[in-house]
Symmetry: C2
Subunit: 196 residues, 2 copies
Amino acid sequence: MARGPSDKKERLVRAAVERFHRDGLNGPSIADIARDADVPVGNVFYHFRARDDLVRAVVDHWVERMRSSMGSVLPEGTPEQRLKAFLDAAAKRADVYAAVGCPLVALARDLRQSGQPLAPLAAAVIRPQLDWIGSMLSAMGVRKTEAVRAARTMLATLQGSFQMAFALGDPNVIRPTVEGLKTQIAALARPAATNR
Amino acid sequence: MARGPSDKKERLVRAAVERFHRDGLNGPSIADIARDADVPVGNVFYHFRARDDLVRAVVDHWVERMRSSMGSVLPEGTPEQRLKAFLDAAAKRADVYAAVGCPLVALARDLRQSGQPLAPLAAAVIRPQLDWIGSMLSAMGVRKTEAVRAARTMLATLQGSFQMAFALGDPNVIRPTVEGLKTQIAALARPAATNR
DNA sequence: GTCTATATATTGATAGAC
DNA sequence: GTCTATCAATATATAGAC
């Protein structure tokens, strides 16, 4: 039964990811997270010097998770197909967003509000999707600056529908928003075809 | 200098509105708010039985404030003009949203996350704008069920741009989103004209 | 390396003096 | 009606036994 380097640090991060998602960044205490991870309370500070370090680990976890997640969205498809697949996947999870909200939007807000030194991490949290959407649009032939701008407004719109669905407790806000975004993508794809 | 019924309760609500906005619903302690309001700490519980009651008062304040605020958006204009004026006003405050976020979005999320018995208030917080946008669309001749649906997605989109602007610390996300919404409104207005 | 026991500050809330 | 003194619970964090 001998374990080498214990997996407690990893368990703590996993438990923190879940609780921060459910109750916000300032919701759970160290004791709450330790209990969820089945790790002695005082022991948390052996693995993380302070609460902020645990938060940083959670942010790293999300960034890594989203980056790999975006990479696996319909990897064989065209950029336009991949974007639409990404949006459809979001629509399929509408019930979850209505029930517990979007983890990334919430995390970004909490990070910006908790002031220095955590605030700068807020942008990093949404960067993976932002970059991915931007690269898909670029690959569709959209001009670089326009792709960056469009990626921002599109992701903002999608996240706004999550937010609204959560506030109202009603998943039905998400589907029409997704349909609208798919129309926008189709419109962006058309003029690009004339370039070739 | 004799004051009748003291204004301390009102001062506490005003201080709480500001701090909840800046630091979230669970950020400030009762002591923080009391200090801001220049009211003795222990005295807070004379005016509000518990922290939740103060939160409720803050929610009431926002609902009342937004309801009167929506009523005064270009009162003389046509519904279409009023909607566009509302969006332009939001765009004009882009810097504020990028710096401190949107108070209502944040409040709604915190309320839903703080569980019973406060969670149901989340919907009430965004109701004033939702209803106002819906009534403007109805007045433009949009079918009732469609107006409700469009109001939700439009407000969600706008709020999403606030959220994104806050996360990135960049106000420039808001203007293009607002322009997109104005185009949508113009499109909704056109078919309605054929009905008369 | 791991965990227990504890220190210290702050939380929401109460009792009761003025 | 107003404010002071204080409570019990919980927060993060540390020191040191195992």
